[in-house]
């Protein structure tokens, strides 16, 4: 039972799972696997355990193990990439709003308020509708939808740090804004932002997979866990493994990432420790 394991041992197992997934994704081109896009209609929908295809094949006879590993590259990169982009955008805007205040703050914060007035996946869908379906546009959309959380978090921290004595002292000594931000404000942001980021990557993988599932993200024939589910679901009656495997890959990876995120939070911010 998961719960009986020591929290940190659980996090260590989760970290191992994440490391394995990343390693598999990096190594995929070098592994002795069939081409993930090679169609072989004579071999379609073979069950797991078929010789030459340990996890079976999909509706076009493509090797599922190969597609899962190649798909990991797309899904993991999309998750980390969108979370990182959202973080960079959010941290920059949050710093600007919190440190300088005035019109910049009003504009930025009202804009984030309006973005947060949308259910986030719906806004992502609307942005993809504007930009056109495809993985790159889906990632842009998810990053735009994701930045307000970071902006709010950072602005809150900056507002409280801005008024502290050490910032006042630095200002009195004549430090320029850039130095105050870099030396005195940024270090205070590190731990809350790292915690938010580590919990965000899994959520971003889920959202990217969701958009691909709707046909708005990765386009065929590129393998990605979400699009594998989307195309496989027509064959769910005949061959449930075509759908079960990519879903399981998403679930296990995101679960592991969330566990690692929880552990990072416990380490960096003991006050926020999960109940």
């Amino acid at each position: 039972m998961l719960y009986h394991l020591d929290r940190y041992r659980l996090a260590a197992v989760a970290l191992l799972v994440v490391a394995l997934a990343v390693l598999a994704a990096i190594m995929a081109p070098g592994l002795p696997l069939p081409d993930p896009d090679a169609v072989n209609t004579a071999n379609r929908l073979k069950p797991p355990g078929t010789p030459g295809h340990p996890l079976g094949t999909d509706e076009f006879g493509r090797d599922l193990l190969s597609r899962l590993l190649w798909g990991a590259r797309v899904s993991l990169l999309a998750g980390v990439g969108t979370a990182a982009a959202a973080m960079l955008l959010g941290v920059s805007l949050g710093l600007l709003a919190g440190f300088y205040g005035g019109w910049a703050e009003v504009l930025i914060m009202r804009f984030t308020d309006i973005l947060m007035a949308f259910p986030f996946i719906l806004l992502a869908i609307a942005i993809v509708a504007g930009l056109g379906p495809g993985l790159r546009n889906a990632m842009i959309a998810i990053a735009i939808v994701g930045f307000p959380i970071y902006a709010r978090l950072v602005r809150g921290v900056v507002l409280s740090v801005r008024e502290r004595e050490f910032v006042e002292a630095a200002r009195a000594l004549g430090s320029p804004d850039r130095r105050i931000l870099g030396r005195h404000v940024l270090p205070h942001l590190l731990s809350p932002v790292v915690v938010a980021f580590s919990l965000d990557v899994g959520a971003k993988i889920l959202t990217t997979a969701g958009l691909s599932f709707l046909g708005l993200g990765t386009q065929p024939p590129t393998a990605d866990w979400g699009s594998m589910l989307a195309t496989g679901r027509q064959f769910v009656i005949l061959s449930p493994h075509v759908v079960l495997l990519p879903g399981l890959a998403i679930f296990v990876t995101v679960l592991a990432l969330n566990l690692v995120g929880d552990a990072v939070r416990d380490l960096l911010d003991p006050r926020m420790r999960a109940a």
Binding site: L115, A117, P119, L122, A126, I250, F251
Partner: protein
Amino acid sequence: MTRFLARRLLQLGPVLLGVSVIVFLVLHLSPGDPAEVMLGANANREDLERLRHQMGLDQPLHVQYLTWIGHVARGDLGRSLWMKRPVLGEVLERFKATLLLTGSALFLSTVGGIALGIVSATHANSLLDRLSAVASLFGASMPVFWLGLVLMVIFALWLGWLPASGMYAPYGGGGLRDLLAHLALPAVTLAAASVTIIARLTRATMLETLGQDYVRTARAKGLGDRVVVWRHALKNALIPIVTVVGVQTGYLLGGAVLTETVFAWPGVGTLVVQGILARDVPLVQGGVLVIAVSFVLVNLAVDTLYAWLDPRIKFQ
């Protein structure tokens, strides 16, 4: 209370305006040309120009927005390029199905989540409490569309207990029983993640409330466990629970898009996705606007509920 409500209603204006600007702008970034979508790729230049002029697409962006929002204010969301019908009627028809699905999921997750949370708090560290902790971890990590497919495989294909997709049976359906049978799997799928979130939060706030002095006083007076938990503790624990239920409503409205697609549920979500693939801008715009506005209204309702639950809030 009236002043509080009036102030919140005043704030509603700018938010709705902002939402409409975003919906408009986002869909006008699109590289595609609606006139081309309507006439097809083989249309000649003059016809395209004429249609662009008729549709106002040759006007500056702000003029197009003002024209559009003027029509929206009069209840005209334009005509669908793909269905050749007014968007409003189509979206509202589909919105009923989305509302039914989201409402059922909200009901399941709120009732289930609060009940599970209370039992977890009053029996902390019991087997049920631990199972609920593991479930919440799973709930946050499981793709909702995958859960839907798994439930569909088990309950519709293997066991044959429930229909796999749609809102009514194609032949001989239409009754309440038929509707409920079709609703069961999508509603449970959509509610799954929210149940666990509401349950964990209810557990945490109930544990905190149950440790307060007034609860001890109530117990010391000799009140029964049930009265203490339900009448004394729960009401005070409700405010954070209402907050999270409000947030979850937004999640459910958004997540409904994915669930609707899995189960071919005829809601706004599937309509919007079909609209995107058909490059039907007015339809997508209308669908997104209706869901976003209903989310804003849900948030207003949640705020009003706070003020009713905790009279201190309206004085802040």
